[in-house]
């Protein structure tokens, strides 16, 4: 579904991603784990078009997207739910969700999509008129995910959804991610919460210093000596 081939990404003179290759297959949850600064967020930003790779190609459903601006990539069906929620703080919950459906195609069907999102996150319906900044941390994450779903994506890039949430809410977030996959949405999940992520992921990649260090199915990696030592502290 999504093919990343040999991309190199720089911030100014500093190279962040090195000749990186990755493939996301339709209908799976691919987890991307790794330490801080390994380049996980950079990879997502490159896929969604915020950063341009200086070489290499990215293609989505057979179409090259590495030279497209972000707003055209969204229209093709890739939704990026950014790290740290990044809500439009002074806009209401409803307006945040509407912004999620900004693209021409999804704007027309936004009422129907809104019902689906409210069905998935009933709390958002209760809070629809409130400014986004007045929500609790958990509700904000729900809103960020709801907003990301408003564009009716085929592929969802989710960046650290469990960050800063209480354990119970983390469970809930992972539950929702699993249910998204059941609805047919492919997911590329970036997480620091390695154990839980590997449990729900179909496949996973370990990113170290801008390169893929390990790749395999979730359970395989959970058993791997390297992952146990470096990321699970066992």
């Amino acid at each position: 579904m999504l093919q990343v081939k040999n991309i190199n990404v720089f911030y100014g003179r500093i190279q962040v991603l090195w000749d990186l290759c990755l493939e996301v297959k339709e209908g799976e949850i691919l987890a991307l784990v790794g330490a801080n600064g390994a380049g996980k967020t950079t990879l997502l930003n490159t896929i969604s078009g915020i950063i341009r790779p200086s070489s290499g190609t990215i293609s989505f459903l057979g179409r090259r997207i590495d030279n497209l601006p972000p707003h055209e990539i969204v229209q093709l069906g890739i939704s990026h739910i950014p790290e740290g929620r990044r809500l439009f703080a002074d806009m209401s919950v409803l307006e945040n969700l509407e912004m999620g459906a900004y693209s021409r195609g999804s704007w027309k069907t936004r009422q129907k999509t809104l019902e689906e999102v409210f069905h998935l996150f009933p709390r958002l319906r209760e809070r629809a008129g409130q400014p986004a900044r007045t929500l609790s941390g958990g509700e904000q994450q729900m809103l960020a995910m709801g907003r990301g779903l408003m564009s009716k994506p085929k592929l969802c890039l989710i960046d650290e959804p469990s960050n800063g949430l209480a354990p119970k809410l983390v469970q809930e977030v992972f539950q929702i991610i699993r249910s998204l996959r059941e609805q047919g949405i492919t997911i590329l999940l970036v997480e620091q919460n390695v154990r839980q992520t590997l449990e729900i992921a179909d496949r996973a990649c370990v990113l170290e210093n801008g390169r893929i260090a390990l790749e395999g199915c979730g359970e395989e990696l959970l058993k791997s000596e390297h992952v146990r030592k470096a990321y699970l502290g066992l």
């Binding site: 915020i50 200086s54 707003h71 307006e95 912004m99």
Partner: protein, 350 residues
């Protein structure tokens, strides 16, 4: 006594309406497009001078001039953003800039050498040679060193300073073009000057029209921002431009739109100003300063703040003018200084 207080307050509202309109335009340009537009007043001047010409030469009603000047200043602002500011937004040298700079540099070197008779060559032949060298150099650099940094966006702080400097230059360019076209004389025309009585005080009809339009445009703009798809995109882009892009917003288009709308507000304000006050090609800077003070007073980047701040400053100006007409601008500076000391974020700032 009571009537004179009322007089002063109403006069303040009339003045404040103009200030609010001017400041909203700048606030939009700074709050969303991140351009602290020093040339803001020049768009006001363009609106004012154009209306004067339309009225005196072509006998066009100034109220119709609003419909003409608004769209023209909008398009002008939009194009300026799409071309010049767009280049400042992405990292530096673009193809063409190096060509121009290099040509000028090489040609200057040639002329110095020619002055001392080191080279003998026709000036224009030399210019052509310089141009060819510069283009080759530009092309080579673009293919090699600059290729990697192309299209990556510069940091917000960098853009704020470069765009401000650019707008400073733009101010001189627009002003001097206006000088060539209109000359330096101060001119005015009379339009709707019949007096209207409000609560015992007399005001020119033109002043009331001005206030009416300011409020109308303010309200229309408010509904545009809160009710329409593009309006919401503008607010989203003001709050977080990167994430707005992830939602599908074409950020370059929205930023240019904001800059254009700000310019249009300035243009329309210019039309309204010309109905009440004399205009000349040199009037821009004064209004730029007032716009900056109002924007700071209302809270940097807050559009409702600018609206309120405009009226607040208008009333203050009117009160001070009541006692000593020459001191209004002094009072503005005083308020500005006081504000920076006591509440730097302004009335509605965050």
């Amino acid at each position: 006594m009571l009537t004179s207080i009322l007089d002063v307050l109403i006069a303040g509202l009339l003045l404040g309406g103009l200030y609010a309109l001017i400041a909203m335009g700048l606030s939009l340009q700074y709050g969303v497009a991140r351009v602290f537009n020093i040339s803001h007043g020049e768009f006001i001047m363009l609106g004012g001078m154009a209306t004067l010409t339309l009225f005196t030469v072509f006998k066009i009603n100034p109220l119709i001039a609003i419909v003409i000047c608004g769209p023209i200043t909008f398009v002008l602002g939009y194009i300026i953003h799409r071309t010049f500011f767009r280049h400042l937004l992405t990292s530096l040298p673009i193809f063409g800039e190096i060509t121009i700079l290099c040509t000028l540099f090489l040609w200057t070197v040639f002329r110095i050498l020619a002055d001392y008779n080191y080279v003998r060559l026709n000036q224009f032949a030399a210019l052509a040679i310089c141009l060819v060298i510069a283009i080759i150099l530009d092309f080579a650099l673009n293919r090699t060193a600059f290729r990697r940094i192309h299209e990556s966006r510069v940091a917000a702080g960098v853009f704020e300073s470069t765009s401000m400097l650019f707008s400073f230059g733009l101010m001189f360019i627009i002003k001097n073009i206006a000088f060539i076209g209109w000359g330096p004389s101060i001119r005015s025309y009379s339009f709707l000057q019949q007096p209207v009585s409000i609560a015992g005080a007399l005001f020119g009809m033109n002043r009331l029209v001005t206030l009416g339009f300011s409020i109308l445009i303010g309200l229309a703009f408010y509904f545009f921002l809160t009710r329409t798809r593009i309006g919401k995109a503008i607010r989203a882009a003001a709050s977080d431009p990167t994430v707005a892009q992830l939602m599908g917003v074409n950020i370059n288009q929205v930023l240019a739109l904001c800059f254009g709308l700000g310019a249009a507000m300035a243009g329309i304000a210019g039309v309204l100003i010309s109905m009440c006050y004399p205009v000349n090609a040199n009037m821009g800077i004064e209004y730029t300063i007032i716009a900056i003070i109002v924007v700071a007073l209302g809270g940097l980047g807050s559009i409702p703040g600018s609206f309120i701040g405009g009226f607040a400053l208008g009333i203050i100006g009117s009160i001070v003018s009541f006692f000593e007409p020459g001191l209004a601008l002094v009072a503005y500076y005083f308020i500005f200084g006081l504000l920076l000391l006591i509440r730097p974020k302004g009335i509605l700032g965050k």
